[in-house]
Amino acid sequence: MRRSLFRAPFLPYLLVAPQLLLTLVFFYWPALQGIYQSFLIQDPFGLRTSFAGLANFASVLGDPLYGNALRVTVLFSGAVVAGAMLLGLVLAAAAAQPLRGVQVYRTLLVWPYAVAPAVAAALWLFLAHPSVGIVGRALVRSGVGWDYTLNGSHALLLVVVASVWSRVAYNFVFFLAGLQSIPSSLHEAAQVDGATWFQSFRQVTLPLLAPTTFFLLVVNALYALFDTFAVIHALTKGGPGKATETLIYKVYVDGVVNLNLGSSSAQSVILLVLAVVLTSFQFRFLERRVHYA
């Protein structure tokens, strides 16, 4: 392998500088600010500041409502990751078959990814609202006591479904690409050995899809944890009660709505640590089982 394509020593740095600068300004600087704020007690305007030590962390971790948010997050993220990946895989497996008009199906299945989360949430609102939504009204008329504005389980179900729907298309694209890169000779060889469709799927397709699956697992977990804010904000605002308040939504509520910057920053720092731990855990323990072809 050649060591360098560039003769001038500074050109590579110059080329990555814009990206580095963006990362510094939009990630490292706010993150450091957040860590600094998490040790302070301050009024919203920054007029009076006092050093709090670990008091913000202690009050967050001692708060039963934080435990509730953690519980909601685990439930919500688990359901979103499982639902979005399973559906994506099933649809990709179906669309990978040689069918008439398969391009049309594929295009249609990718479309939802182009819908912004807030817009997607608005669409779901018009479907599911018990008094203005089409599906919601039908449910109420048919005797199901559907009301996600007041029933916590209904609300959680709704934000899970909406988040899964926004994410399926992304998973579909990756699974489809993964499926198409599996050489058909392997399936043919399995067929010659007398494998059924299911056996061939389990023993040939799934192992070869492992890198894709692993990548999607990491990305979907991060999506469920951090990127579902818009859906929750537009649909339930964390309610009813605190039934759909995830950790990331609580950061927003405490910081932006309640203007409690110290507590909100402490929660962000905890989330940051959580994200690092989760990702490194996934890479250390799950990646070992992944076979990169």
Binding site: F45, L47, G239, P240, G241, N260
Partner: protein
């Protein structure tokens, strides 16, 4: 194009730009610019911007630039962030529950009474309705922010549904017992799919409920007298009212419409025959309702001594923000703009165009002179409700820090009571316990 031609064109373009620049410079230079951030969208935002351009056209020295910054909480956060960056707007519109937070931010705001004194601007606070003035004044009566868009909750009802249910359409229920009876008749005759719902559950059924029945929402005169106030919303009368609401929900007479303004939709759509909501819902009823509607006073419990007192306002007021680089001319510009806003013509126009209540006595006189109340008899009901008694310590308003968070806590606990997960008494006890923690936290950061 030849080289000569190109050169000539360039020269002409440069010359034109210089001329235009000079003209623009001459026209704009002397005007003092004032940044005004607001939170009103749609028709309300348009009405506000037409007032601003009216001010800009009325004189040649100042120019107010109105900018829409999102919802009230978003505007508040934007203003706070701008202040921290040393770029605060001159004027920011802030919802009424942000009042205590803003007042505690001495150094970030300039109280209106101080602004008017320093700039020697003639200004008479006594033209404002007491219920409006009191909400935005210090306990000793000095006005801190500029009242602007105010409303008060009333009972909206569907006269057609009342007729179908055999109720007198010209006589809306006065008391909660009568409202319950009316809801029963409406449901029994199926005159509407839902008897009664409410928007703004905390503002109407706690803050205004306390004012109308003259019971405190919190100690220390609802927080006016100090940041060491404690919530009192688990007092027997509040528990009784929540029990009544939960009971009506069980009997299918009441339908929960959600937090804040979410319940608004249930009235104009015709789903609920009665809706307790803001008087500013007028625009929606007028545009959307396919039936004859009416307005009544907010119901009360007639066995409570002294009830009904005046209701309290909601909406927003305008705050003057400071910044390291402010000049006296800029403050003078703000003061002149405020004087323009409080003139009878402008505030009456605002009232009649938007459905917000007129906030000054002079605006009421002006609207009456124009025959507005003859054409819209309902529009006098919110005014009468606000002015029917002198504000008491319990009906002056709420002055609690982090009030938006306290409202959220009340929503959460009340929603759990409506879901049957806890009794009304337990819900309000929990709200008081959690709310007091929030108040103590505010007390710490407010440094008093």
């Amino acid at each position: 194009m030849s080289r000569l031609n190109r050169g000539a064109v360039c020269a002409a373009a440069v010359a034109l730009l210089l001329v235009l620049g000079a003209a623009a410079g001459r026209a704009q230079a002397p005007r003092v610019q004032v940044e005004f951030w607001h939170a009103l969208r749609g028709p309300l935002g348009e009405a506000l911007e037409s007032i601003v351009s009216g001010f800009n056209a009325s004189q040649a020295n100042y120019r107010v630039n109105a900018t829409f910054k999102g919802s009230y909480p978003e505007t508040m956060v934007a203003a706070i962030a701008a202040f921290r960056a040393g770029n605060a707007p001159h004027i920011v519109q802030m919802f009424e529950v942000g009042t205590a937070t803003m007042m505690a931010a001495r150094g970030a705001i300039k109280p209106v009474y101080e602004l008017m004194q320093e700039t020697r601007t003639p200004f008479d606070p006594s033209v404002y309705l007491p219920a409006v003035r009191g909400y935005y004044s210090t306990p000793d009566g000095r006005m801190v922010s500029m009242p602007f868009n105010s409303s008060t909750p009333v009972l909206w009802y569907n006269k057609d549904a009342f007729r179908r249910a055999g109720l007198n359409p010209e006589r809306p229920p006065r008391t909660w017992a009568e409202l319950r009876e009316a809801a029963q008749r409406i449901r029994a005759s199926n005159a509407a799919p839902c008897g009664w719902s409410t928007a703004w559950p905390t503002w109407i059924h706690f803050e205004n409920f306390g004012a109308i029945h003259d019971v405190p929402f919190a100690t220390r005169a609802n927080g006016f007298d100090g940041t060491d106030a404690q919530l009192l919303v688990n007092a027997p009368l509040y528990v009784r009212h929540l029990e009544n609401i939960v009971q009506m929900q069980r009997e299918g007479l009441f339908k929960y419409g959600g937090r804040d303004a979410a319940g608004d939709a249930l009235g104009p759509s015709g789903e609920c025959a009665m809706l307790t909501a803001s008087s500013a819902l007028f625009a929606r009823y007028q545009r959307e309702a396919r039936f004859e509607w009416g307005v009544g006073f907010l119901p009360y419990y007639d066995d409570v001594k002294g009830a009904p007192k005046n209701s309290i306002i909601g909406g927003a007021s305008l705050w003057v923000m400071t910044s390291p680089r402010r000049t006296p001319e800029e403050y003078k510009a703000v003061a002149e703009f405020f004087r323009y806003l409080s003139s009878p013509e402008v505030s009456a126009k605002w009232h009649m165009e938007t459905g917000y209540i007129p906030i000054t006595f002079t605006a009421i006189q002006r609207a009456r002179a124009l025959g507005y109340y003859q054409r819209n008899p309902w529009a006098e009901i919110p005014i009468q409700q606000l002015t029917r008694t002198r504000p008491t310590a319990n009906s002056k308003g709420i002055r609690l820090g982090n009030m938006p968070e306290i409202r959220t806590i009340l929503y959460e606990e009340v929603e759990r009571a409506l879901q049957g997960q806890q009794s009304p008494k337990a819900a309000l006890d929990a709200a008081v316990r959690r709310g007091n923690e929030v108040l103590r936290q505010f007390q710490r950061t407010a440094g008093r």
